[in-house]
C-alpha cells in the first residue's frame, strides 16, 4: 500500500486543527482531499468488498478518526473512517484506514447506528416522496423547494414496518431566508426504497407517531 497522506499534510492537518476557527476552511479543504483518497482505498479493500458482497450500498462519507489517542495531535491524527451503508442487510460498514501506510486496519459492521442522512440519501428519499405528489414533484425538480431530513423514529420502534431499516423523515421547505414548510413529514424507508403509508396520531407509545403526514 502507498501512503495516503504525506508527513507535511499531516503536519498541516494538525496546524489547521489547532488554529480553531481560523483554520477551519483550510482544514475542511484538506480533509475533503483526503476523503477521496481514503474512500478509494476502502472501496478497493477485499475485506470491505467481501462484506458488501455486491449488495446495494452507498458510501456515506469519510472522516478523520482517532484510533489511538495520545498527548500529541500528530500521533492522534493517523487514521480515517470510511462509512458505507449496506441497505440490503441494514448494517453500517465502518472501514478504518491508516493514513500513513495506506492500509485498511479493519472493517467493522455496526447494526442500529444511524448517522444523519447524507445529501445523496435526502435526494433519493425526496424523489421517492414526491413520486406521487405531482405538484410537489414539479417544485422539487425545479429546485423551488428544499428538503430537510432526520433519522426516523420509526426505525427504532420494534414491530414497525421500518424497524431496523435506514429510514428518514423528510420535510419540504420553500427556498430562501423566509422559507416556509410546504410538505412533510414524509417517512421514507431507504432500505426498501418506498414511502411508508401514513399512520394516524395514536395513544402514547403507539408506533408511527406522525409518519407519512405529508
Amino acid at each position: 500500500m502507498t501512503t495516503l497522506v504525506s508527513r507535511s499534510e499531516r503536519v498541516s492537518l494538525v496546524r489547521f486543527a489547532q488554529q480553531q476557527a481560523k483554520g477551519r476552511r483550510a482544514l475542511d479543504a484538506l480533509v475533503a482531499k483526503l476523503r477521496r483518497r481514503v474512500t478509494d482505498t476502502a472501496g478497493r479493500s477485499p475485506e470491505v468488498l467481501g462484506m458488501l458482497g455486491g449488495r446495494r450500498h452507498r458510501v456515506l462519507g469519510a472522516e478523520l478518526h482517532v484510533e489511538e489517542p495520545g498527548k500529541n495531535l500528530l500521533h492522534a491524527i493517523r487514521h480515517a473512517e470510511v462509512s458505507t451503508y449496506d441497505y440490503d442487510r441494514d448494517v453500517l460498514v465502518s472501514t478504518i484506514v491508516d493514513l500513513a501506510s495506506g492500509d485498511v486496519v479493519r472493517a467493522v459492521e455496526h447494526r442500529g447506528v444511524q448517522p444523519p442522512p447524507t445529501r445523496e440519501e435526502v435526494d433519493e428519499a425526496a424523489a421517492l416522496a414526491t413520486a406521487e405528489q405531482a405538484a410537489l414533484a414539479r417544485r422539487w425538480r425545479a429546485r423551488q423547494v428544499i428538503a430537510t431530513a432526520i433519522p426516523a423514529r420509526e426505525a427504532s420502534i420494534e414491530g414497525h414496518a421500518c424497524y431496523g431499516h435506514r429510514a428518514i423523515t423528510l420535510y419540504f421547505w420553500t427556498r430562501g431566508p423566509r422559507g416556509s414548510r410546504v410538505g412533510g413529514p414524509v417517512l421514507v424507508d431507504l432500505s426498501r426504497q418506498r414511502v411508508v403509508p401514513p399512520e394516524p396520531e395514536g395513544a402514547p407509545g403507539t408506533a408511527g407517531m406522525d409518519a407519512g403526514k405529508a
Binding site: G61, Q114, P151, P177, P204
Partner: protein, 343 residues
C-alpha cells in the same frame, strides 16, 4: 475534529457525522491540564427518556437509538429553538465546522479563564446541547442543555403527548487517564457525622447517590501521590437532584472494565440501562484493569404545555463537575482578574 489550547488546558473534540460513533454527539479527546493527561475521552452518547404513561413512549436517543428514539442530528449553533418539523433547512449543519462552537474566555473577578466547546443537536422534538467547559483551576464542567418543543407539538396544542411529564436521563461515558495511567482506583465517599470515608469500588457495579451521605466518587492514580502524599485524583461531583426512577434508569454511576478506546461506546444499550451492568459489565474485579465510568445527569421534566413550555422549551442546563483533588501540589495561581491580583 479540532484541538483547543487555552486556560492551561489542551483537548481535542470530534462530532462524527458518518462513522460508527455518528449520532452520539460531541466527543472530547485527550484533555490535558498543565501538560498532564486527565481524560482520555468523554462523551454523552445517549439519553433514555421514559414518559409518564404505562404505554410509553420510552425513548433511547443518540447512538444506537431504541424504543422510537432517534440519533442526534447536529444543528448550526444559531438554529432556532424548535422541533425538527419547524427547523428550516438552514438550521441543520452539514459538517463539524458548521456545528461546533469553541469559546476561549479570559478570567474575570470570580471565574478563571476557560475553554468551552459545545454543539446543538436535534432530537426530533427536542434539542440537546452538549457542552464541556475546561477551567483554568483544573475543573471540567460537563453539561447538557435541553430545548426544542414538547413531544406532540407537531400535532397541535391539544395533543395529549404535550401533557406527559417525562425524565431525561443523560448518560456520560468517562475514560480517565490520570498522568497517562491506563489503570485507576475508583472510590466512593460517604459522610456520616464528622467523618468522610473513601471506600474502593472493587468490582464492575452500579452505584447511586445517597443524598444524606453526600455521595461523590473519585478516580485516582493507582500509585502516584502529590508532594503532600495525597493520591493524584479527580473527583466526580454529581449535581442532579433527581434520583434514578428505577425501571428505565436504575443508577447514577457504573464501573465497567475498559475493553478499548472506542469499545462499548453506548450503541448496544437499549431503552433501559440494564446493558451497562449486564452487558458491558459482568461484576468482574477492577484491580489492574482500565475502568470506564458511566454517570447520569438527570432531569425530571414536569411539563408546562400551557405556560412556559407552550411555544417552545427555553434552553436550560444540567451537569456535573469533575474536579482535581491531590492532582496538584498547591493552589493554582493567578486565576482571577482582581485588583490587587489574587495570589
Amino acid at each position: 475534529m479540532g484541538w483547543v489550547s487555552h486556560a492551561d488546558w489542551e483537548f481535542g473534540w470530534e462530532l462524527p457525522f458518518t462513522g460508527g460513533l455518528a449520532g452520539g454527539g460531541l466527543l472530547i479527546d485527550c484533555a490535558i491540564y498543565k501538560r498532564r493527561l486527565v481524560l482520555l475521552r468523554g462523551s454523552a452518547p445517549f439519553a433514555i427518556v421514559p414518559y409518564h404513561d404505562p404505554g410509553g413512549p420510552f425513548f433511547k436517543d443518540g447512538l444506537g437509538p431504541a424504543g422510537g428514539g432517534v440519533a442526534f442530528t447536529p444543528l448550526k449553533p444559531d438554529a432556532p429553538d424548535l422541533g425538527a418539523w419547524n427547523t428550516p433547512p438552514g438550521g441543520f449543519a452539514a459538517n463539524e465546522t458548521q456545528a461546533v462552537v469553541v469559546e476561549t474566555l479570559a478570567a474575570d473577578g470570580i471565574e478563571p479563564a476557560k475553554a468551552i466547546v459545545w454543539a446543538k443537536l436535534n432530537v426530533y422534538n427536542y434539542q440537546y446541547i452538549h457542552r464541556w467547559e475546561f477551567h483554568a483551576d483544573g475543573r471540567i464542567e460537563a453539561m447538557i442543555g435541553v430545548g426544542g418543543e414538547l413531544l406532540g407539538s407537531q400535532y397541535g396544542p391539544g395533543s395529549p403527548y404535550r401533557k406527559l411529564n417525562h425524565i431525561h436521563n443523560f448518560y456520560f461515558r468517562l475514560d480517565f487517564a490520570l498522568d497517562g495511567s491506563s489503570t485507576h482506583v475508583v472510590e466512593e465517599m460517604t459522610h456520616a457525622g464528622n467523618t468522610d470515608t473513601w471506600t474502593a469500588i472493587t468490582n464492575e457495579t452500579k452505584r447511586s447517590v445517597v443524598p444524606s451521605q453526600f455521595t461523590r466518587w473519585r478516580v485516582r492514580h493507582p500509585s502516584k501521590t502529590n508532594l503532600a502524599g495525597q493520591p493524584v485524583s479527580y473527583e466526580i461531583i454529581p449535581e442532579s437532584v433527581d434520583p434514578p426512577a428505577g425501571t428505565y434508569s436504575t443508577g447514577d454511576l457504573w464501573t465497567v472494565i475498559k475493553k478499548g478506546f472506542s469499545s462499548e461506546m453506548g450503541a448496544e444499550v437499549k431503552n433501559t440501562d440494564a446493558f451497562l451492568q449486564a452487558g458491558y459489565g459482568a461484576g468482574k474485579p477492577l484491580a489492574g484493569n482500565g475502568v470506564i465510568l458511566w454517570h447520569v445527569v438527570r432531569e425530571h421534566h414536569k411539563v408546562e404545555p400551557d405556560a412556559e413550555d407552550k411555544i417552545t422549551v427555553p434552553y436550560h442546563f444540567g451537569g456535573f463537575t469533575i474536579r482535581p483533588r491531590g492532582f496538584l501540589d498547591t493552589t493554582p495561581q493567578k486565576l482571577y482578574k482582581t485588583v490587587p491580583p489574587s495570589p
